[in-house]
Symmetry: C2
Subunit: 243 residues, 2 copies
């Protein structure tokens, strides 16, 4: 299948992706943009080819997760920067999984940058740009009307930990430390919850195992070098044959 035959109209444009409806009401297409944003879009940039890299990385990682029993919205990669996905209703929670303290966690709680956490930390943030994506608890999720179902929230946490376990092992075999990452989940019509959105160096932090070199959006956030070179290195490691 290809993008042109399937696509109908643009439904939504976010910071990193556009979403299109398709000729099949149960499917959508996600287009990966070359735009880069950080600090809730206060810092903006663009890197030719970044979208294509994230498209390929996301496709490979969703395939890896599916092979390991994690249901995702991913159906297939259509071309260099489009993927075909199941249509879901996105749950407005950014599920953040952390193995190492860095970024906002270190700043917010005064925890030493780079500290290996004593256990895998799962946090929920309310997906709301106007409010700057505030951190929330299970109780806030209920008050905000995100869900009244504690089982849904437990499922998000369980899946997030399973995904972390799969990805962490996969990447360490490729000499990349998975520091932290952000997931989004969506609901199907039958109420079941599957992984959605993307998994890429835009949504994960990867540090080289030996040098601690950053190979993710922190290269853009902190002006550490060429973003594309970093993302290409992640893709190269994913494609390498350690597994």
């Amino acid at each position: 299948m290809n993008f042109k035959d399937l696509v109908k109209e643009q439904l939504y444009e976010g910071k990193g992706k556009k979403i299109f409806s398709t000729t099949n009401p149960d499917l959508i297409i996600a287009e990966f943009k070359d735009d880069l944003t950080a600090f809730n879009a206060q810092k903006k940039g663009n890197e030719d080819g970044k979208g294509a890299l994230n498209c390929q990385i996301t496709s490979l990682l969703f395939e890896l997760l599916e092979k390991n029993g994690i249901q995702t919205h991913f159906k297939e990669c259509l071309d260099s920067n489009h993927i075909l996905c199941q249509k879901v209703e996105i749950i407005p929670i950014e599920v953040v999984v952390r193995n190492v303290a860095t970024g906002s966690l270190s700043k917010r709680l005064g925890i030493q940058d780079g500290l290996e956490l004593p256990f895998v930390l799962v946090e929920f943030y309310y997906k709301n740009d106007t409010l700057n994506d505030p951190i929330i608890t299970d109780e806030h999720c209920k008050i905000l009307g995100i869900t009244q179902n504690q089982d849904d929230l437990e499922f998000l946490k369980t899946q997030a930990r399973k995904i972390n376990s799969i990805l962490k092992d996969f990447f360490i075999a490729r000499k990349l430390r998975l520091i932290d990452f952000k997931l989004e989940f969506g609901k199907l019509n039958d109420g079941s919850i599957i992984l959605a959105d993307e998994i890429s160096p835009d949504s994960c932090r990867f540090w080289d195992k030996d040098s601690d070199q950053k190979l993710d959006k922190d290269v853009f956030r902190q002006d550490l070098g060429n973003v594309k070179v970093a993302y290409e290195e992640v893709l190269k490691r994913i494609l390498s044959q350690q597994n």
Copy 2:
């Protein structure tokens, strides 16, 4: 007993209170200051007699809670602005209980000011002025080394809800709505946890049942009138004979 015979040396000075050691190593004295601070001490003021009002209100409310089976650090009121208390190791969590959305909750999560919450919300904030008292989850408490014991955290939540239930009923009988409040707890040498700090219009929000008039530190925060008049009204209601 009186302050002068008991007091040894100042151990600590906070925004609203000074803490002194006493001739008995198991007891401390808390002195209620007339200082008012808000927004993490960015706004400062002083109201002659405010400390004495909070001292009397705290004493009466701790006595009420003790009578209702809640263990507190309160031993006795020594004079107009000193109370004698058990010495505890303060747990660095501000336990916030909310019946109605207002203040930072409304701002942070975009919830309508004055909305009655669908259930009693208990939140933990990390007691750390440098970090501006960030909100934390149970997992953060463990990472920060506050406690490794989930039972301790559950106890804090259970006690907070019990205290809310007692105080809410007490105040509504006096035509005051208990909107939200902040508690601090401390550990005794045997590891048991008791209520500490204070309960006063500095740490609670009270709205008049009929007029919704604010009778708490929001009068200072939002320049709504005379702080002392508001606190005196709270004391008057506590002393009234509805119970």
